[in-house]
């Protein structure tokens, strides 16, 4: 359902026109074609709006009042970057869409190579999404990360994506290639100047080989006024374990769109996450999971806590193609609404063309359980504290399934901090 082509351009679209013209004029011959093709693909669709089915609950055309100017190259202080906090990591910093080696780790890690790129991905994107095309039309830079076959990377690979400045936008393109038999933990944070209004648009393409073991934690802690769009395209080989977790806390508007395809048999993928929303935040997680080969297992478990006038959107589509027999796909969305004005739109979908599969989806939404609350209070725990305990418990259940101990600790600490419950006993 494409938008009619004759729709009137918004202010944001007009700004984008000027930005594209300026960046295109500076683009080298080598990349000009790709930039132009991406721009044409974007222009054919325009900024997505509610009549585009995949964006129905996130009317970006209305919410994006303007497209901020492309951020220039800056050099923020190292201590502005939060990343994974105190964890010892191998850090890769990307500032305003560009690789920032001066803020990145400089040691060599066997089996890991990092290269600065111009941000253009392979011409065949895994998606035909307008905002992914826009990323490639305006991309400012990026990196490629390569993990050799059978390499076991001990340190977490920390990708810090920082947008520096206010009223600016950043576009980065990243490729990640993980060789067969490799093992890695990737912690990726999206952040920026506190209280700054900015727009970040990241496009990342991940290819994982056979028999690999990958854990990927995304920390979305953008400034409270930011607009965040991330497109992640993932292809998985055979007998691989891929576990992804989104921690969604920042941004006034966020959209995480994941396109995952099973390319090899007997692979497990877990897509999980927690969203912690308040004020007028709007957070959208949209998944397309394609089972194209037999014997794969996918888990899509997301939990949200929504307060004030915030709104969580979840759309998850699992497609099981005819060849994908013995597919096991389970999707479950659970939401706690903490106020009468909080909202969730949950749309889990299954499209099954194979006949021997186990698939299920479900969604529950509710308030804090009064019986649980009474039990805690009857033991002497004051109501406000009891409520925090129950919210933390609700989110912890999802967090603990990520099964990377250092990440679980980090996520629980961040969750406690969001709840203003830092003093809460944690063991």
């Amino acid at each position: 359902m494409n938008a009619p082509a004759n729709i009137k351009e918004t202010k944001a679209e007009q700004s984008l026109n000027a930005q594209f013209d300026a960046i295109f004029a500076q683009t080298t011959q080598e990349n000009a074609n790709q930039r132009k093709q991406a721009w044409d693909a974007f222009k054919a669709k325009g900024i997505p709006h509610r009549r585009v089915e995949e964006w129905h609950y996130t009317d970006l055309r209305t919410k994006m009042n303007d497209a901020f100017a492309l951020a220039s190259k800056t050099a923020p202080k190292a201590d502005a970057l939060k990343g994974a906090g105190d964890l010892k990591t191998y850090r890769i910093a990307i500032v305003n869409g560009r690789y920032a080696p001066e803020l990145s780790s400089d040691q060599n890690v066997a089996g890991l190579s990092i290269a600065q790129t111009n941000g253009f991905l392979a011409a065949q994107l895994g998606t035909d999404d307008a905002m992914a095309h826009l990323n490639q039309a305006l991309v400012q830079g990026g990196i490629s990360i390569k993990i050799d076959a059978n390499a076991k990377i001990e340190l977490p690979i920390e990708i810090v994506r920082y947008t520096d400045g206010s009223q600016v936008s950043s576009y980065a393109g990243t490729t990640v290639e993980i060789g067969s038999g490799a093992k890695a933990l990737i912690i990726e944070s999206f952040e920026g100047d506190a209280d700054a209004a900015y727009q970040s648009n990241a496009l990342t393409e991940v290819k994982v080989g056979d028999k690999a073991d990958v854990h990927w934690l995304k920390l979305q802690v953008e400034s409270a006024k930011a607009q965040h769009i991330e497109t992640l395209s993932i292809e998985l080989g055979a007998e691989t374990n891929f576990q992804h977790f989104i921690y969604n806390e920042g941004a006034s508007l966020s959209r995480a769109q994941l396109f995952l395809e099973f390319k090899g048999e007997n692979t497990h993928a877990g897509l999980r996450g927690t969203s912690l929303l308040k004020d007028n935040q709007h957070a959208d997680i949209t998944l397309f999971v394609k089972h194209a080969v037999p014997g794969c297992e996918s888990r899509e478990y997301y939990r949200s806590v929504v307060d004030d006038k915030a709104r969580a959107v979840f759309q998850g589509k699992i497609i099981v193609e005819q060849a994908a027999q013995k597919t096991d796909g389970q999707m479950m969305i659970k939401t706690l609404l903490l106020s009468d004005t909080a909202e969730i739109n949950a749309k889990p979908e299954l499209e099954i063309f194979a006949d021997d599969v186990q698939c299920a989806h479900g969604s529950t939404t509710g308030d804090i359980d009064e019986d649980l609350l009474f039990y805690l209070m009857a033991r002497g725990i004051p109501e406000a504290q009891a409520r925090k305990i129950l919210v933390l418990a609700f989110l912890s259940e999802a967090i603990e399934e990520f099964e990377e101990e250092q990440c679980v600790e980090l996520l629980e600490a961040m969750t406690r901090s969001w709840l203003h419950a830092d003093d809460m006993v944690s063991e």
């Binding site: 649980l372 009474f374 209070m377 009857a378 033991r379 002497g380 725990i381 009891a386 305990i389 006993v425």
Partner: protein
């Protein structure tokens, strides 16, 4: 001392308690027996301060404090403990974390210092051994995956850790086999003391073989219709509740 005077209470507009008078002095154990639907569990929830249980007439005071003024958490800090008939499962809350949080919340409310982690661990180890609560149970989320007997033992463990002065045991014997009943009863008996009042709510007499009460009350249609010594329980076991509740006997 617990003093209940002419207590009327309702839930969702349904009148359940219709004028209860009851005084429990320190050191006393009172049993409240009665058929299903007589208001036994309602009385326990009203005492503990559950939100949707509304006192419409009469009063409850404990050690001179008007209970209506206090929330459930404040009553707990003032010495109240309800051992639930159906202890609820709370996924995501580790049992040890919960125990420590509850103990410290009560201490804080009473203006006492928080217990240190080593002291707390030592205390839990001692008490849990007596009640056959395994370290594995303490590691699990609160009551999650516990058997009926384990849940009841965990309740008594909480009671023994929190050291309340007013204990209400709501059908603690339900779902227990003979061995579990003995362990739980021994745990309760160890907590009997001259400073502590207990109300044991039960449907059957068998619990009272283990926890011998000083006074037995029969509750019917929201009122206490008969009060006697421990021999009253034996009489009820023999003749049923029919003499006290007429045709609506269980």
């Amino acid at each position: 001392m617990l003093e209940i005077k002419n207590l009327h209470a309702e839930v969702d507009g349904n009148k359940i308690l219709r004028g209860i008078d009851l005084t429990v002095r320190p050191g006393e154990v009172h049993a409240i027996m009665g058929p299903n639907g007589s208001g036994k569990s309602t009385l326990s929830y009203v005492l503990a301060g559950k939100d949707d249980y509304e006192i419409t007439e009469g009063s409850i005071s404990y050690n001179g404090v008007d209970w209506a003024e206090l929330g459930a958490d404040e009553r707990a800090a003032a010495g109240m403990f309800l051992a639930f008939q159906y202890p609820i499962e709370i996924p995501g809350v580790a049992t040890m974390t919960f125990l420590k949080t509850a103990l410290n919340a009560q201490r804080k409310a009473r203006g006492e210092d928080e217990i240190s982690t080593p002291d707390f661990m030592k205390l839990v180890r001692e008490k849990s051994k007596e009640l056959k609560v395994t370290p594995d149970m303490l590691k699990r989320p609160l009551n999650v995956g516990f058997s009926g007997g384990e849940k009841k033992r965990a309740e008594i463990l909480q009671m023994s850790l929190l050291e309340p002065t007013l204990c209400v045991l709501d059908e603690t014997d339900s779902g227990l086999d003979i061995d579990a009943l003995r362990v739980v009863s021994e745990g309760v008996n160890q907590l009997r003391s001259p400073e502590r009042s207990m109300i044991v709510i039960t449907h059957y007499q068998r619990l009272l073989d283990h926890i011998v009460p000083d006074v037995v009350h029969v509750l019917s249609k929201g009122k206490i219709v008969k009060t006697g010594g421990k021999e009253l329980a034996l009489e009820l076991e023999k003749n049923g509740y029919a003499d006290y509740v007429g045709e609506e006997a269980a």
